[in-house]
């Protein structure tokens, strides 16, 4: 009886505090220590990631936005899809998209397959394996612009813009080798070179550049595969190719999926490799911007004389949607094909 009377008596302030406390506990604000520890990372992420993402989306949907307008807060812009429409109808953007997709579709499968082959070979070599692993990893730690310049020199000396001199089209080690075997030298990247020649050089360069990371991942995967699977296969007189396709590849499938997905994501963001070969003209002399990519287009739109933030943002969002879709497809496919 005494208990009942205590319970029915009400203390409004106490009740209110209890409610607030329960609410705070619910949203975990009482874990204030944890939030303080996380705050440096959260603040940095908010400033350098969340805020730019928010602005990208905002700019993309603002019609005819100009950064100059920030000086006058009275100017407002309409919301609309104008930037997307403009970008998608703009031929140069479509060319950039095409370049990006071509490079992606060519380089990711080639580099993954080569990396797999090299990783398997490296894994089966006993002597010098450490040394060879280091050599194969070198491109990863080398500046990609520097590598690009070396590649440019191997194919043609770029930037001389000496289309009038015949010699310039036959320069470079690659052409020397072609000539040694009696072929005619090809104008790879100099003024007057063809689009597919340019793409070929880009593919070779990007594949070479992408190999070390993939080899590293796949080699790591291979070394964690139980050797007894191979002993078992050996006893059952399994041919080498069957060991590769039926044992090695399935057991490596999680790593292969990872390498392919990150490869596509990286491929769609291709930019610096083209700068490495062609410089920031993004194309051979006389064909400026011919090999430009999506990211290149975004940079150009921001840095151009007109500062087209809206179009750059729209392009960035389109790029994001493409990467998102491709990754989703990749994940769906790998879900069926990988064996964890």
């Amino acid at each position: 009886m005494a208990n009942e009377s205590v319970a029915t008596k009400s203390y409004p302030l106490y009740e209110a505090r209890k409610k607030v406390g329960a609410f705070l506990r619910k949203i975990k604000f009482d874990h204030w220590k944890g939030w303080i520890y996380l705050s440096p990372a959260i603040v940095l992420l908010l400033i350098f990631t969340a805020w730019p993402i928010f602005n990208t989306v905002r700019f993309a949907f603002l019609e005819k936005y100009s950064s100059l307008a920030d000086l006058n807060p009275d100017i407002t812009f309409e919301f609309g899809l104008g930037n997307f429409q403009y970008v998608l109808e703009y031929q140069y953007f479509k060319d950039c998209l095409f370049n990006t997709i071509i490079l992606c579709v060519l380089t990711v499968p080639i580099s993954t397959f080569l990396a797999l082959l090299i990783a398997v070979c490296l894994n089966s070599i006993k002597a010098l394996s450490r040394f060879l692993q280091t050599i194969y990893f070198l491109p990863y730690v080398t500046n990609s612009i520097a590598i690009g310049m070396v590649f440019a020199a191997m194919f043609n000396i770029v930037g001389l813009n000496r289309a009038d001199i015949n010699a310039s089209t036959s320069l470079g080690i690659v052409n020397n080798i072609i000539q040694f075997f009696g072929g005619t030298p090809i104008n790879w990247i100099n003024a007057g070179s063809g689009y597919w020649e340019n793409i070929f050089v880009m593919v070779v360069y990007i594949v070479w550049n992408a190999l070390p990371f993939k080899i590293l991942i796949l080699l790591g995967g291979l070394q964690s595969v139980n050797k007894q699977y191979y002993d078992a296969a050996k006893i059952d007189s399994t041919p080498k190719w069957r060991v590769f396709t039926n044992i090695t590849v399935p057991l490596l499938s999680p790593m292969i999926a990872y390498v392919v997905i990150t490869g596509f994501i990286g491929g769609f963001k291709e930019y610096s490799s083209i700068v490495g070969i062609f410089g920031d003209t993004m194309g051979p002399p006389g064909a400026k911007g011919r090999l430009n990519t999506m990211v290149g287009y975004i940079y150009d739109a921001i840095n151009g004389s007109t500062k087209q933030y809206g179009r750059a943002s729209a392009a960035a969002i389109i790029l994001f949607l493409i990467i998102f879709a491709v990754t989703l497809v990749n994940l769906q496919v790998s879900k069926k094909k990988t064996h964890y």
């Binding site: 002993d231 050996k234 069957r242 057991l251």
Partner: protein, 367 residues
């Protein structure tokens, strides 16, 4: 298929390159495995039993000696050409394949005249699966099977191509105690039904004794004794074999032979005619003790453990090299836990004498 090992030797180079040290894993192993028998290679870890098995399989090359399957010299033959089935300790089932695919995998590798149609392969796979009683599980992945089931799949995969010799590396070590009992019966049954010459490796003497036709006891790469399990148990050639076989283990004493009598401590416990006077190790099997009121061997009683049919008498004796003397006697003998001491007579054929230096058996006439 008869398997003959002649002076088989395996030497592993030392890891340290500066100090030239070698590890002799298997030393001069000569043994013939009769056709259709189940042979257990038995020994403690590091005794070279697995190395021997891997040399028979061809996964490891012997440093010396020869291996014959029947009359064919297979020493230099690679594993795929030997026609063996090998079951790995952790089964090595391909995790991305179903049970059916795992079992069919060896068949799909067959080339030339042995090449099989797909229907024939499936039929054979089911046949073998039925033999090891996993035909219900054919569409599962190995990760969805219990340890015992995985074990059977591994055996099925080894059997499916009808190997000339079946090799099992510690086949039961990954199973729990109950499954182990069950699976070892299974292995015995499968081996009987197929009649394939089978070699298996184990460090568990009980396992080896219970299912093998022949056991080979090894120590540090050297074969200690070969024989039928019961023979080896009843007639160990040296102290190591005597100690290694039997649960509970044999009781070892310091003893002395004087004038044809064996002394443990001060008491003469047994007549051992034909043995010269010397100090010896004495091994007495737990079942070699017979409680007797005027028994020759007196030990102070620690405990009596009732096990139903038998009674385990735990006692201590000054000459014993084990912490306690454990004897198993019939429950009909009434021994009270409260007694200070207990007296035994010894069964002569359960008493073994071993040389103090060489630890080799010293035989005496059993009347």
């Amino acid at each position: 298929m008869k398997v003959e090992l002649q002076n088989l030797t395996k030497i592993f180079p030392g890891r340290n390159k500066k100090v030239h040290e070698e590890v002799i894993a298997v030393n001069n192993f000569t043994f013939t495995i009769p056709d259709g028998k189940l042979v257990g290679l038995l020994g403690p870890s590091g005794c070279g039993k697995s190395t021997t098995l891997y040399m028979i399989s061809g996964l490891q090359q012997p440093s010396g000696g020869k291996i014959f399957f029947g009359d064919e010299d297979v020493t230099d033959l690679s594993p795929e050409n030997r026609g063996i089935g090998l079951v790995f300790q952790n089964y090595a089932l391909y995790p991305h394949m179903t049970v059916k695919q795992n079992i069919m995998f060896p068949l799909q590798n067959l080339r030339g005249p042995d090449k099989m149609e797909k229907e024939a392969m499936i039929e054979r796979a089911y046949e073998v699966a039925k033999l090891v009683q996993i035909d219900e599980l054919m569409d599962r992945k190995p990760s969805e099977l219990s340890g015992g089931q995985q074990q059977r799949v591994a055996i099925a995969r080894a059997l499916v191509k009808m190997p000339r010799v079946l090799l099992l590396d510690e086949p039961l070590s990954n199973l729990d105690a109950r499954l182990r009992l069950q699976t070892r019966e299974e292995i015995r049954r499968i081996q009987r039904e197929t009649g394939i010459t089978t070699v298996f490796v184990t460090h568990d003497q009980e396992e080896a004794m219970s299912i093998s036709d022949l056991i080979v006891v090894m120590k540090l790469g050297v074969v200690q004794q070969v024989g039928k399990p019961q023979e080896v148990y009843d007639n160990p050639t040296n102290l190591f074999v005597a100690k290694f076989l039997g649960t509970p283990p044999i009781n070892v004493f310091d003893g002395e032979v004087k004038g044809g009598k064996l002394y443990l401590g001060d008491a003469a416990v047994l007549d051992v005619p034909g043995v010269d006077d010397c100090k010896v190790y004495v091994g007495i099997r737990p079942e070699g003790f017979v409680p007797a009121e005027n028994g020759a061997l007196e030990a102070s009683l620690n405990n009596v453990e009732v096990m139903g049919r038998d009674v385990s008498v735990v006692s201590t004796h000054v000459a014993s090299l084990n912490p306690v003397v454990r004897s198993i006697v019939d429950a009909d003998y009434k021994i009270s836990k409260d007694d200070e001491s207990v007296r035994f007579d010894l069964k002569p054929h359960k008493v073994f004498l071993f040389d103090k230096e060489t630890e080799e058996r010293i035989y005496f006439e059993v009347k």
